[in-house]
Amino acid sequence: MKNKLIATRNAFGEALVELAKERNDIVVLDADVASSTKTSIFKEAFPDRFFEMGIAEQNMMGVAAGMASTKKIIPFTVTFAVFATKRACDQISISIAYPKLNVKVVGSYGGIPTGKAGATHQAFEDIAIMRTMPNMTIIVPADAVEMKHAVRACVEYNGPVYLRCIRCETPVIFDENYKFEWNKGVTLRDGKDITIVSTGIMTSKALVATNILTEQGIDVQLIHLHTIKPIDKEILLRASKQTRHIVTVENHSIIGGLGGAVAEVLSEGAPALIKRIGIKDIFGESGSDEDLFNKYGLTSENIVKEVKEIIKKKTNKFYNF
């Protein structure tokens, strides 16, 4: 099956326009990157509801907070994930998260794909940073379909949200029957040998890996978490009790992101052997998206390889976990 390819940043821009046609409380603030974040689509449709903030992310977060304090405006602040979560970290924390204002912070250019821009533009820590902020919800959609559902859900939810978008085109894995459930993980395949937990665009790669592994007789359970915070503990604890072996996959640092979050939940509730696939505590570099995904092991092939290694261990009679 050949999946349609759409970048989640495009789906985000389109979803905003769709929603803004229905309600006039949605406004967008962008820091001179509208053509990259795809809020340009929104600006064209609603020029009066688009606020150019210039290259000044800290101020942008505060302005959005002030707008949201009226309770009559839902501002989306949109810029690259690195600048939102690192440069304007304190502003998101103190002006948005602490007073629990209804601002949707959108981090575009999550993870590896940045159009060859390299380390300074690659957000590997954004999820980890946002995860430490009280009151913050973090959503990392897998594909264009889920992104559209997520944007709508964000608007319906009253409170701060961090929504992560991706630059490169990625396979659409969900169809029109997909139902987005707030704060709930999605079981894409049930299985009892091992569980793969993935988020964002890595879910499409995990799905490919799951199909390969299943064909080879390994009964894989695949869970997609579109929401990293609050995390769906129930689905994770159940999977851990069933398979005792977990592989997490994310387009983000293995420190503090999905892998970190899963390890925290399971170590306190239902310990498992966890292998975290993701960026290994390094800064990135320039290169084509494909070359980078290959180099850092964010591929279906590598997921297959890591799962098989654990399965090999598991079938060794001296292995006891």
Partner: protein, 281 residues
């Protein structure tokens, strides 16, 4: 001008009451930022008892004028003004800085009635105020937004981001008041990091500027009345003030940035304000 004279006298009385509360609450809490609270007292009095269109019975009134204390550490002055204006019982001021109090060391909009925005990390209030001003325009509302800045605070880069954006959007419904008391935590503001020339900086950033003595009630009244009428640009009132104003041994003394007076010192300070024979709130 008898009416005007009476107004000034009334506002001076209010300022004196606010000063008294500040001293009592910080002394009672054994903590707080007294110097910078006393320097904005006269400004607070004019705002809360003359300028602001507000309703203490309905702190969430959507058409109310907004106030943000960007220099959030001066919270005691704000709480004192809010209590005197009727937002909450004056007795509650004694809970300031204590565990489980609605009156946090730095303002919390979700805890204190009348506090329009939480603050405490310097430089952020002006951006939020700008957002409120832009929101008023978007929502076609006529409320005004007032933000009080510290002088040391303007060393933060975010202040100048906001200054640039406010001028770009010509938010004439935004009024900043700079509490230019010339002292910050570790010394003289312009020795720690020179912020001069202040007026020129704001002017070239595209703001309307008004310079006043921030302790002369008539000048504060006039400046604020002028500022709310001004069209086409945001206004900043540069108020020359004295840190620790009103208490002889605190005035212009850097150590009173965040020092709590002892009971004896508080008594002496209250005596200077003319409250020698009264008890508590």
């Amino acid at each position: 001008m008898v009416f005007q004279e009476e107004l000034i006298k009334d506002l001076e009385k209010k300022a004196n009451i606010i000063r008294r509360y500040i001293i009592e609450m910080i002394s009672n809490a054994e903590g707080g930022h007294i110097g910078g609270a006393l320097s904005i007292t006269d400004i607070m009095a004019v705002l809360y008892f003359h300028i602001l269109k507000i309703d203490p019975e309905n702190p969430e009134w959507e058409d109310r004028d907004r106030v943000i204390l960007s220099k959030g550490h001066a919270s005691a002055a704000w709480y004192a003004a809010l209590a005197e204006r009727g937002y909450f019982p004056k007795e509650e001021l004694l809970t300031f800085d204590h565990i489980n109090s609605r009156l946090q060391g730095h303002p919390d909009m979700n805890k204190t009635p009348g506090v329009d925005m939480s603050s405490g990390s310097l430089g952020q209030g002006i951006s939020v105020a700008l957002g409120m001003a832009l929101a008023a325009r978007y929502l076609k509302k006529i409320y005004r937004t007032f933000v009080i800045l510290g002088d040391g605070e303007t060393q933060e880069g975010q202040i100048w981001e906001a200054a640039m954006v406010a001028a770009n959007y010509s938010t004439d419904n935004l009024i900043a008041i700079l509490d230019y008391n010339k002292l910050q935590l570790y010394g003289e503001t312009n020795t720690i990091m020179n912020i001069e020339p202040v007026i020129e900086k704001w002017r070239v950033f595209g703001w309307n500027t008004i310079e006043i003595n921030g302790h002369r009630i008539n000048e504060i009244v006039q400046a604020l009345e002028e500022a709310v009428k001004f069209e086409g640009k945001p206004t900043i009132i540069i108020a020359h003030t004295i840190k620790g104003k009103g208490v002889s041994f605190m005035e212009n003394k850097v150590e009173w940035h965040s020092l709590a007076p002892t009971k004896e010192q508080a008594k002496q300070a209250l005596k200077e304000l003319g409250y020698s024979n009264e008890k508590g709130f």
